[in-house]
């Protein structure tokens, strides 16, 4: 674990893996809740957690080294189920990358249990880990990906909260509302939430 100063009020804590980043994020939330430190933002990402709005970053950085960070618990609760029509335009490409039949893609994807590792790109856009396989991004991004599209990129699965440009490989679509600022919580997929995708019949 390495703590890098970011200006005078933030720390970027770098760890060795995505799993460690998720575990550290959970531990930081727990310790902030006890009042051990204050921060306006705790932002997990691929291999880091950013703490912003700290009073004394160097003091916290000094204490981090002695922390015991427990692994992320595999809790049974808190599973969000997202119903998906696996009929995306990139199913054939993904199947080719994996060397499987096209209808196997849905089976493989729906068998995994995901966890929201972090959010970014757009409000409510979660980067979900848990899929045992990877695919590269599309060589040419699409200028408009419809809201509700379920896509893959690298080790991540994501669901587009609204229509936007995007380079992920689209394997399906959902009617689930990923982001609604009038709802509490506004984001369906928040860091730490576990997710399962449920295949729906053909349209």
């Amino acid at each position: 674990m390495r703590a890098l100063p970011v200006g005078d009020h933030a720390l970027l804590i770098e760890v060795a893996s995505g799993e460690e980043a998720q575990a550290l994020h959970a531990e930081l939330l727990r310790r902030r809740a006890t009042g051990e430190f204050t921060a306006t933002e705790i932002v997990p990402a691929a291999r880091t957690v950013l703490l912003d709005g700290l009073d004394a970053p160097s003091r916290l950085a000094g204490r981090l080294a002695s922390w015991e960070v427990p692994p992320v618990p595999a809790r049974a609760e808190d599973i969000v189920e997202i119903r998906v029509h696996y009929d995306g335009p990139d199913l054939a490409d993904v199947a080719a990358h994996w060397g499987v039949a096209e209808d196997e893609v849905a089976r493989i994807h729906a068998a995994a249990v995901f966890r929201v590792a972090f959010c970014g790109f757009a409000p409510g856009f979660g980067y979900l880990t848990g899929l045992p396989r990877e695919v590269p991004r599309r060589a040419t991004p699409r200028t408009a990906v419809p809201a509700g599209s379920v896509g893959l990129a690298g080790p991540y699965t994501g669901v587009y909260p609204r229509s936007s440009p995007g380079g992920w490989q689209l394997i399906g679509r959902t009617d689930a509302v990923l982001w609604d600022h009038t709802r509490d919580p506004a984001a369906l997929l928040r860091p730490g939430v576990r997710v399962r995708f449920i295949p729906m019949g053909a349209p």
Binding site: P5, T40, V43, F118, A122, A187
Partner: protein
């Protein structure tokens, strides 16, 4: 319903509703947003007796015109500009009574970029995640104003502040930005680090509320490839593949994959928001305090 309203007659190049933004939601991918020149916005709010959280209008280069439906107190600040009420010259940087139905015009800026208009009661559009700010990156908050937009106003809060003369820093002829190194300064060559804090850059016309873009020598990377996505802060100086530093402003993305070479001191960001395209920029290295 009995509170006032403001009719936008001329929206200008880019006029948005802004308050102090919506920090605390970056983990959901929500930018902080909010006024770019916070001291200027705080001052105009104070002049009309508003709470510091009240929403103001932030204009860009060529001002805007509005018509209040009932009599209001307003104040114009930020980038200096001519102010008129029904065509007659009026004070900039001071509280001003505008009768209901009169046309208040903020003209083109004389210097700087962003003007601020506070109206007694504040702009009372529906808040989103606790803020009325327009976020141009994510689309949260009200859309940028267009001609004909009607903005609701809140109830005037308090008797207005008795301030006769207001200090207003002139927008900078040259921008000096103090920076602390890192977190990803080790992704750049020693020569690039020297260039960054010794060679003058200029403000690019491609700058916006997301970032102050610069033109100048490209900063060469010592590490190839892309950084796994990581959290970004206000004032972070990100270096995209073209090598020209970008200073993140209020609507910056919450995560990114290009390395951040340094972070600008927060006290220098209001001046960055007022630096017009072509303004020389110098990055000056200072040590971490904290």
């Amino acid at each position: 319903m009995t509170d006032g309203a403001l009719v936008v007659v001329r929206a200008g190049a880019l006029t948005t509703v802004q308050d102090r933004g919506r920090p605390g939601h970056a983990h959901l991918g929500v930018p902080r947003s909010g006024v770019l020149d916070a001291p200027a916005a705080a001052l105009v709010n104070r002049l009309v007796g508003n709470h510091a959280d009240a929403a103001v209008l932030e204009t860009t280069l060529n001002g805007c015109s509005v018509r209040p439906r009932s009599t209001v107190t307003v104040a114009v600040g930020g980038a200096p500009c001519p102010v008129t009420v029904d065509g007659r010259p009026a004070a900039w940087g001071a509280a001003l009574r505008v009768p209901g139905g009169a046309l208040l015009d903020l003209g083109p800026v004389r210097s700087g970029v962003r003007g601020y208009l506070a109206v007694s009661g504040g702009v009372a559009v529906e808040p989103v995640l606790g803020s009325r700010s327009t976020d141009l990156l994510s689309g949260l908050g009200p859309a940028p104003l267009t001609d004909g937009t009607v903005l609701p106003l809140g109830p005037p809060a308090a008797p207005r502040a008795r301030v006769d003369v207001v200090p207003h820093p002139a927008p900078p002829a040259a921008l000096v930005l103090r920076v602390t190194r890192g977190p990803r300064d080790d992704w750049f060559t020693a020569a690039a680090l020297r260039t960054f804090t010794s060679h003058p850059y200029t403000v690019s016309a491609a700058s916006n509320r997301i970032g102050l873009r610069t033109e100048g020598p490209a900063l060469e990377r010592a590490v190839a490839g892309e950084l796994p996505s990581e959290g970004m802060v206000l004032g972070g100086v990100q270096v995209p593949p073209d090598g020209r530093p970008v200073v993140f402003l209020a609507d910056h993305p919450t995560t990114g994959g290009y390395p951040v070479i340094a972070v600008v001191h927060p006290a220098d960001l209001p001046a960055a928001a007022q630096a017009a395209p072509g303004t020389p920029v110098r990055f000056v290295a200072v040590r971490h305090q904290g």
